[in-house]
């Protein structure tokens, strides 16, 4: 008989394949069951632990009772960080429950703090980890969180005296900085809040705060970024059972902010991991915050990112039961998901926003927020004042920079590229910040005046070819570098090209790949470059505009120098008194608006859509109010019934 592969064999083969596939699927299902079982077991373990600690507590309850009576007087002084959440709870229709589903525009690699490297991971960690203090969204005052109180010891006079004597004796700045006898210019002593605890029940102690500093400072931990930030502290020491002292080597106005924004990590959890294991880990996240990972150790990239409410939270728990983030890398898919109602919040680009507000059904299902973000950043064009050979370039003349600024129609730019969703920038400070000087007027769009200024600076059309030349006949041509692949930057460059051509200046757009651009920037190998900076509630412009930062890799990449500004910036950084400091920043704003090392372009507005069922969303001085204050009224809850 012939040994042919016939229909019967095909059917048998297919059956075999189906059998193998079902076995594989069954194994998959077993795996799912297994991970569910493990999750159940770890929850039971945790509950067992809390029951045990509750049982052991009655002996200590009496002590607790007596101490609370004694400290009643001081508790009144402690500001309640949960005032706003309590106010939300008092609102009509308040109900706990439901999930908040948001999206990230990229996949998240790691959630472990210190070794994670993207903004998304930081966002997730901000719900799980807490700091010693945070800012009230409305008053911007610092309010105690894990700390209950603090005091600042101002040693600047002693510091200055010491530095002076050493300088007179001939020591260099580096030697002085390393001198052990150098008194710390500023010391901040924090008292920890009694009763604060991590989500597994362990209390937050001074040891945890010190650990949060010493752990990343260990070179074996792969956290160079955290180390760079933490080296601004001179030391962090436990100086009492519930007290920690932060010492700073130099007087710096941001000292308190740096100390207060240190995320407190649980020592008992993280010290168990060997350094290499911690470095390679992806999902070790445990903290004292209002949300926690279901299992503090087992998150893997690719699985859904979700935080569950910490029912063991030491403070007032928020309304949402779960925070979920979907990872949607494609912006089209992200917008489609939001439109379908699969996600609850969406930040739109101006073009998307303009289309979306025309959609009536979308408008009826969502709340729209269009606001000036107080911590939003600005766009600018930087003019390099040095040529490659080190000699001053054309842009070293202030009049040229002013003329070029007057040639850019910033209002039109905002209308056409930001579609009206933005305001003109007159300086590096956000219009909503106290550093902003309202008396500084923006430069007008005035081609005639610009041409006159250029002529004054020696540039005019000497040979009638439509292009202006300098005294030695060099035509005014330059390249404008910007990040390539971005439609907005490209349109902006073309619009500049057009405006400059009217004054006889030739602009050549030079789009570059990001890493190439960064390298050229660091080597200062550019003529003019257009970029953006982010801002903060109070931004320190030392890096961008102080002449000492005009070194290689420094952020003063246009080699700008103004002695009055230099002194003013250094003074402002040292001044701890806010009123005096703000006056100095406002003067800085004035100087920069006149000198124009950058042509400041615009601050964009934030455009956010949120699903309509979510209540209690409002605008505060830091943007939208924190999500822990949002809630969904009972009948409208979607994910939990």
């Amino acid at each position: 008989m012939e040994n042919r592969f016939g229909i019967k064999d095909l059917v048998l083969l297919l059956l075999l394949v189906v059998l193998i596939v079902s076995v594989w699927l069954a194994m998959q299902q077993y795996d799912r069951q297994w991970s569910e079982l493990r999750a159940i077991r770890s929850t039971l373990d945790e509950q067992g632990q809390s029951i045990r600690s509750l049982r052991d507590r009655p002996a200590g309850v009496a002590q607790v009772v007596t101490t609370t009576q004694a400290s009643v007087a001081t508790t009144a002084e402690m500001t309640d960080p949960f005032v706003r959440i309590r106010a939300a709870e008092a609102k009509p229709g308040f109900a706990r429950g439901d999930w908040l589903v948001d999206s990230f525009g990229n996949t998240v690699g790691k959630l472990t703090p210190l070794v994670s490297s993207d903004a998304y991971a930081s966002l997730v960690q901000s719900y799980v980890l807490e700091t010693l203090a945070d800012r009230d969204p409305d008053t911007l005052e610092w309010r105690p969180l894990l700390a209950s109180s603090w005091r600042t010891i101002d040693n600047i006079a002693a510091y200055d005296a010491f530095v002076d004597t050493k300088k007179k004796a001939g020591a260099t700045e580096e030697q002085i900085a390393k001198d052990k006898d150098l008194p710390s210019a500023i010391q901040i002593v924090f008292k920890l809040r009694p009763g604060a605890r991590f989500s597994d029940g362990t209390p937050v102690t001074a040891d945890d705060v010190v650990f949060s500093y010493s752990f990343p400072m260990d070179e074996k931990i792969n956290a160079p970024r955290a180390r760079a930030y933490l080296s601004r502290f001179r030391s962090v020491e436990k100086t009492g059972p519930d007290e920690v002292t932060f010492s700073f080597a130099e007087p710096y106005f941001e000292a308190f902010e740096l100390a207060a924004s240190l995320s407190i990590l649980p020592k008992h959890f993280y010290e168990k991991f060997p350094a290499e294991d911690f470095n390679a880990s992806v999902g070790y996240l445990l903290g004292s915050g209002p949300y926690r990972l279901e299992n503090a150790k087992s998150w893997k990239p690719g699985t859904l990112i979700q935080l569950v409410r910490n029912e063991n939270y030491w403070g007032v728990t928020p309304a949402f039961e779960r925070l979920v983030w979907k990872e949607i890398p494609s912006d089209i898919a992200e917008l489609a998901s939001f439109r379908n109602g699969d996600t609850d919040a969406f930040s739109a680009m101006p073009e998307q926003y303009r289309e979306m507000i025309k959609d009536a059904s979308l408008i009826s299902r969502t709340r729209q927020f269009e606001y000036q973000n107080p911590v939003g950043g600005y766009r600018y064009v930087a003019w390099n004042q040095k040529k490659e050979d080190g000699k001053p370039s054309r842009f070293a003349d202030k009049r040229v920079r002013q003329a070029l600024t007057m040639l850019i129609d910033r209002d039109r730019l905002i209308q056409e590229i930001l579609l009206g969703y933005g305001v003109q920038a007159t300086g590096p400070f956000n219009p909503l910040s106290k550093q902003y000087n309202p008396d500084v007027k923006p430069w007008p769009f005035d081609v005639a005046r610009a041409k006159a200024l250029l002529k004054e600076a020696g540039f005019e059309d000497r040979n009638n070819d439509g292009v202006i030349e300098s005294a030695d006949g060099m035509p005014f041509e330059f390249k404008l570098t910007f990040p390539g692949g971005n439609a907005n930057y490209e349109r902006m460059a073309l619009s500049f090209k057009d405006s400059f051509a009217r004054a006889g200046i030739v602009l050549k757009p030079d789009p570059l790949d990001w890493s190439v651009m960064v390298e050229r920037l660091n080597k200062k190998n550019f003529e003019a470059i257009s970029l953006g900076w982010t801002a903060g509630i109070e931004s320190d412009v030392f890096q961008m505009f102080h002449s000492s930062q005009a070194v290689a890799d420094g952020d003063n990449f246009m080699s700008y120098k103004n002695d009055e500004l230099d002194k003013l910036i250094l003074d402002a950084r040292r001044t701890l008194d806010e009123t005096k400091r703000m006056e100095m920043w406002r003067r800085v704003h004035e100087i920069l608006a006149d000198d124009l090392p950058y042509t400041f372009l615009s601050f964009g507005k934030s455009l956010v859509f949120v699903d309509k069922r979510i209540d209690n969303i409002g605008l505060t001085k830091v943007g939208l109010n924190p999500r822990v204050e949002w809630f969904v009224p009972g009948p409208q809850q979607r994910w939990t019934k």
Binding site: V115, S117, R225, I328, I332, T534, D553, D555
Partner: protein, 359 residues
């Protein structure tokens, strides 16, 4: 035959070294340093701080050494035979011997490369293991039918339709498909992205009816999420294989042995399916070999649009962030498998076609 196989396997090594050397040097000599891609998230750092980070990374990953040394070090780490610490591998006491290859650690993601690749591989494999049979089955059947009815309605229309599908770019079709089939404004038949629903963890495995309401279940949910990506991946590939099959079948239908079979009195049906078919499939075997590396390279466009974390998207991100170790290791892995599959395809061809022999 055996000597042929051995020769091919031995040729693998210089080819791999060549591939990885070119990739390494192109990356190393291109502008931009490793830390530049980390700059975006560190815009507010002072230069001393940035320099400190760079110094640390240089020390940790040996980035300060000359390029040839860096490449040599990587090669040594990846190969199962090389210089090793005494006390590891086999034999234990010597410094040269067999050792476990180590694919290294990604600087940007700060995780072992092997873990990253092992996470991305199943998604890509799944997508391709579903795509390839579909493409093959559809192409073979349409190719055969077009050859049988040459010049008639089916042949002409299938040719035009498949070619039209081939000409439509994936980038555009992916977005169109999302916009029309996954959007509330038109037909919302499919989900927009990802491999599982938000509630997937709580679903039962198989579909069930609970109180008259149909619950998809985990299995069906996963399938439902894959339908659109598979459609976008397969539609363009039919044309090529179908035309190949068609021409191969046509060639064999007019061959001498087919004429003899008809002369013997066999029906056209028997001639086609018993004799001609097995000979016509041969070109498709060779084509299969070249599909396999693409399989592991991944379908970058589909993965990016639908948010599936496969090898293609991994490679793209690694290149964007200049993640040296990840790029090299992925090239290496894809290179081995690609070259290996070429060898396997050649052997399969020798088995399938007794006229072919390698001596």
């Amino acid at each position: 035959m055996l000597s042929y196989i051995l020769r091919r396997i031995l040729l693998l090594f210089p080819t791999l070294i060549g591939i990885t050397m070119v990739v390494f040097f192109v990356m190393a000599l291109s502008p931009g340093r490793v830390t530049d891609s980390l700059q975006a998230s560190e815009a507010n750092m002072r230069p001393e701080e940035r320099q400190r980070i760079e110094a640390y990374l240089k020390k940790r990953y040996g980035l300060g050494d000359p390029l040839v040394v860096q490449y040599g070090r990587w090669l040594n780490r990846v190969s199962p035979v090389g210089f090793k610490e005494a006390g590891e591998g086999f034999p234990r006491s010597t410094t040269i011997g067999f050792k476990t290859p180590d694919l290294g650690e990604s600087f940007i993601r700060r995780r072992p490369v092997l873990d990253i690749i092992l996470e991305a591989l199943p998604v890509t494999l799944l997508l391709n293991l579903i795509t390839i049979p579909i493409v093959y089955v559809v192409s073979i059947t349409s190719g055969i039918w077009a050859a049988r009815k040459r010049g008639q309605a089916f042949d002409v229309t299938s040719g035009v339709v498949l070619l039209a599908l081939y000409s439509m770019p994936e980038i555009w079709i992916g977005v169109m498909v999302l916009g029309f089939f996954a959007s509330r404004d038109y037909l919302q038949w499919f989900p927009t992205s990802g491999t599982h629903d938000v509630l997937a963890a709580q679903m039962a495995f198989l579909p069930v009816f609970v109180d008259g309401v149909f619950h998809r279940g985990w299995l069906l949910d996963a399938v439902w999420h894959l339908i659109l990506p598979i459609i976008v991946m397969t539609y363009g590939s039919f044309a090529f294989m179908s035309k190949l099959m068609r021409s191969s079948v046509l060639e064999n239908l007019t061959a001498d042995y087919a004429r003899t079979a008809r002369a013997k009195g066999l029906t056209e049906h028997v001639v086609l399916f018993r004799h001609v078919l097995s000979n016509s499939v041969l070109p498709l075997i060779t084509v299969a070999a070249s599909i396999l590396p693409g399989l592991l390279g991944g379908a970058v466009i589909v993965e990016s649009i639908f948010g599936l974390n496969g090898m293609g998207k991994l490679m793209l991100e690694a290149i964007k962030t200049k993640d040296q170790e990840l790029i090299l290791s992925q090239t290496f892995v894809v290179g081995i498998i690609g070259l290996g599959s070429l060898i396997v395809a050649d052997i399969c061809y020798a088995i399938a076609d007794p006229r072919v022999s390698y001596e």
